[in-house]
Symmetry: C2
Subunit: 210 residues, 2 copies
Amino acid sequence: MTDSTPHQLLGLYDSPFVRRVAVTMKVYGIAFEHVSLSVFRHMDAMRPLNPLFKVPMLTLPSGEKLYESAYLLDYLDELAAERGLSPLTPRSGAERRQVQQLMALAIVATEKAVAIAYEHKRPAELHWADWTSRLRNQMRQAFTMLEERLDGNFLVGGRLTQADITTVAGIGFVRYILPHEWPAGAYPALERLADRLEASAAFTAVPLDE
Amino acid sequence: MTDSTPHQLLGLYDSPFVRRVAVTMKVYGIAFEHVSLSVFRHMDAMRPLNPLFKVPMLTLPSGEKLYESAYLLDYLDELAAERGLSPLTPRSGAERRQVQQLMALAIVATEKAVAIAYEHKRPAELHWADWTSRLRNQMRQAFTMLEERLDGNFLVGGRLTQADITTVAGIGFVRYILPHEWPAGAYPALERLADRLEASAAFTAVPLDE
C-alpha cells in the first residue's frame, strides 16, 4: 500500500452497511477515498465500476474489489491487527461470539429498517401494510433485545467494539431515513450510546448525507 | 457438550441460509436436532422459541442461542478446528479472502433470489415487475461471476470450502422454489458443481422439503 493508491470505498453513507465500514476505517486510521455513487440514482456511473450494483464495495490498493460489509470488516480487522491495533471484533472465543451476537441483533434491526425503506420506494398503490408491520415488529424486537443487553457505555466488555458501531449505524439510518419509525424515548440506553458515538470523530467524519 | 443435549437448528431447509448451516454440520459430523418450523406458517410455535422470527437459529448445548448464518458458520468452524478438522473457511490471509469473496457472490445471488420469492408472496395486485426485474439482473450477474471463476471441481483451491456449500445451497433454492428463474444451461460449470454436491452425503441428509 502506498499513499498514492489508497483504499476506495464505494457507496453512499445513507446505507448503514457502507457507513459502518467507513466508521471502522476512521477508527483504525486507514486512509480511503469515498466514491459517493448510489445504486439507484447513479446507475450509469455505477455499472462499469460495480456491475453487481452491490454496496459497500471496497477496492484495495492492489485493485482487488471486496463485497459484503461483514467481509470488508473482517479484512480491515486483519489489517488493523497487522498494524498492532486491537481489532473491533475479537479474533476468537467467547468474546468474539458475544460481539457477533449483539451485531446479529443490530443487523436484524438494520436489515428490517432497510426493507421498510425499500417498501417506501414502491409506487404508492403497491405498498403492503401487512409486510411493513411484520418488518416493524422484527426491527423493534431486535432493538428491544439490544436495549436489554446494554449496561454501561458500550455493548460488550466496556470498550468500543463492532457491535457498537453496527448498532449506531443502524440507529442513525432509522433516525435519518425513517424518523417516524424511531419511537423516541423507547430505547433510552441505545439513544445515549448513539448520541455519544455520533458525536465522536469517527462518526462525524462520515456524515449520513455524503 | 454431551450426547443428551445436542445442538438444535431451527428453520426449514427451504431457506438456503438454514440449509448451508445444516450441510456444514453434516460435513463436520456435528450431531444436531432439526426443529422444522416456518417463520411464516408456524408463528405461534415460533414466537416463544424465537421472538425475533429469524432463522437459522442455533441453540448450543449450553442453551445459548445464535443468530445469523455467517456467525453460526464462524462458530462451527471454530468448533471443527478444536476437533482437529480443517475449517471450511480458512482462518486468515489471502485464502480466507478468496473463499469469502466467492461466498459474497453466492450470498448476493441467494439474497436476490429470496427477495424474488418474497415478491411472489405478496398479493398479486401488489407485485412490482420493475423490482423483480432488478433483482433478477443482480442474481444473474452474481451467478455469471461465479460461473466465470469456477475452474475445476471446486471454487477455491481444489477442495470443498464454504464457497461451494453456500453456492450450491443458493442454486438448490432457486431450482426448488423458483425453477422458472433458473436458466437451464446458462451456467454449465455451476450446474455440474450443484449436481455433484447435491448427490453427496452431506446434502442428501438435508433435503429441501424438511
